[in-house]
Amino acid sequence: MIDFAFKNITRQRTRTILTTLGIIIGIAAIVALGSISEGINQYITASLELSAGKIIIQQRGSGGFQGGFAGSDITDDDLEELGSIDGVKEIVPMNLYFSMGRGMSFGPGMVIAGIDPERSEFLVGENIEMHEGREMEGGETGVMMLGFVFAEQRDLGVGDYFELKDMEFEIIGILEKIENPNVDDSASVNIVDIQELMGVDTYQMAYVVPFDIRDAEAIAEEIENSYEKLSATTPVELARQVGEIITQIRLFTLGIGGIAAVVGGLGVLNTMIMAVLERRREIGVMKAIGATKRRILMQILTESAMISLIGGALGLAIGALVVFGIVLASGGQLPAQVTPGLAAGSMIFALMLGIVGGVYPSIKAANLDPVEALRYE
């Protein structure tokens, strides 16, 4: 039956190709958009992991995490006051220096983070290993530690110098690659250097670390209530906000892909209705020579499923190529990839479209009266 189905769908070659194209576009859209939203998800989740158990302090009304903390000015006095709150273990301020960088790439450009060298785990995580060189030491200035990808892309090694504005930094260490773009693409220097570079004596943000993680919410609330100037966000809250954004991105992208695919499915329906109409006589003959209703039904369904599966497979391949291209264009910063689940899901969706699109025409074909069908001109 499958060989006949293939012969049948290749009869009206142009029509079949156009119909398949409808499915290809739909499935490619789902695969590409789905992978990219998954990539964004991973990217943001990876950012969150680093701040787990910490309260993020910034100036109220500033740009916030997504806005690069524009306009946030936290002073040493503020830090001192925060340090006196019950349950606070320590406070780690941080400044981020944003530069568009030199490369022609998407993504956040180049970010140089300034932090107390003894607290660099706040940037790069606890279990970091050095690929080359050493970590920064407390009080050390004029030196820079690089993430693996940051160094690789710029062809930098230990002992090289990196220029930022009119300052020069000696590269003393390169981190091992850990597949987290926030770390791999990072560069960190002593926070004192960043302040000098930016010409400020304030901080953009600070991590407040509680003795007990379970107190984080209460401490954040206290800061929110007691300090007019500062806002405190806990990772839980941040995760919730980010989760909402991710859900919206997902729904939006899947919605677009889904609409495209459903339109493709309508194409299959249309094509199969046409095919059944054209082949009325032939279906009559098939019935006359012994084909049961079930056989006719399965024949038409096999044909529509075949169109949609071929479309699905090609759509998956094209979608994967698009994702590959986007990852390349982002310089590897967007960790988008076609997961097995997404691949399987999109193929199942394609098959479903073919079957749903084939049900009506196949029932119509199966119920054709052979006498009428045979004498149909």
Binding site: R281, E282, I289, G290
Partner: protein, 235 residues
């Protein structure tokens, strides 16, 4: 004396039953076809001969009356069992040949075998044998569009023989052919009847047909008018 392969008892076919335009196409027709018979059913247009053939061929159910194929009462059968009867017991030959245009002669015969569950290899082999039997051994890989009407009808006959049916039904099998080609087809049917023992019923208004058959059933206004013996000139 002979074994009955087909029997119809008092069959009635009414279209638009209960409506003002009700029309009774067949009025209590009864007949018996024995194994090895070559029969023609003739009658003017609208006499009900095609409807009778459709009912004999299990393509249509009568409004009332019984149809027995090889002793099986088809009234009792469901749609898929009826389809099996058509596939296994009956071979159709149509006026329009009704071949599938996009596949070869051999594949057209194969499809009848595959539908009835034969394997691809067996179907291929048998299709070749049958096409050789109808004189198309050299046209196996031609598509219908590359063949003459007479050749296409031979393919259709080979397809009708595919599952070794109890009875072959021809609906105006020479209706689309010129006289000479039509005679060749009738000779082929005659040969299949004489040499291979196939039972054949042909509906036609071609007066030539009656010369080839054992007997002819004349039908008019939905009733059997008379039965005449064939002139048996070619026998």
């Amino acid at each position: 004396m002979s074994e009955t392969v087909l029997e119809v008892q008092d069959i009635v076919k009414t279209y638009n039953q209960g409506l003002p335009n009700e029309i009774k196409v067949l009025k209590e027709v009864s007949m018996k076809i024995n194994k090895g018979d070559f029969v023609s059913i003739v009658g003017p247009s609208g006499s009900g001969k095609t409807t009778l053939l459709d009912i004999i061929g299990c393509l249509m159910r009568p409004t009332s009356g019984g149809v027995f194929v090889d002793g099986v009462d088809v009234k009792e059968l469901g749609d898929s069992e009826l389809a099996n009867i058509r596939g296994n017991k009956i071979g159709f030959v149509f006026q329009q040949y009704n071949l599938i245009q996009t596949i070869t002669a051999q594949e057209n015969v194969e499809i009848a075998l595959r539908i009835m569950g034969k394997s691809k290899g067996d179907a291929k082999k048998r299709a070749k044998e049958l096409l050789e039997l109808v004189g198309l051994g050299k046209r196996l890989n031609n598509k219908p569009s590359q063949m003459s009407g007479g050749e296409q009808q031979r393919v259709a006959i080979a397809r009708a023989l595919a599952n070794n049916p109890s009875i072959i039904l021809g609906d105006e099998p020479t209706g689309n052919l010129d006289t000479k080609t039509g005679e060749k087809i009738l000779n082929l049917l005659k040969k299949l009847n004489n040499e291979n023992g196939y039972t054949i019923v042909v509906v036609s208004h071609d007066p030539n047909v009656t010369e080839y058959v054992d007997y002819t059933i004349h039908i008019r206004d939905g009733e059997i008018e008379k039965t005449t013996n064939g002139t048996t000139t070619n026998k």
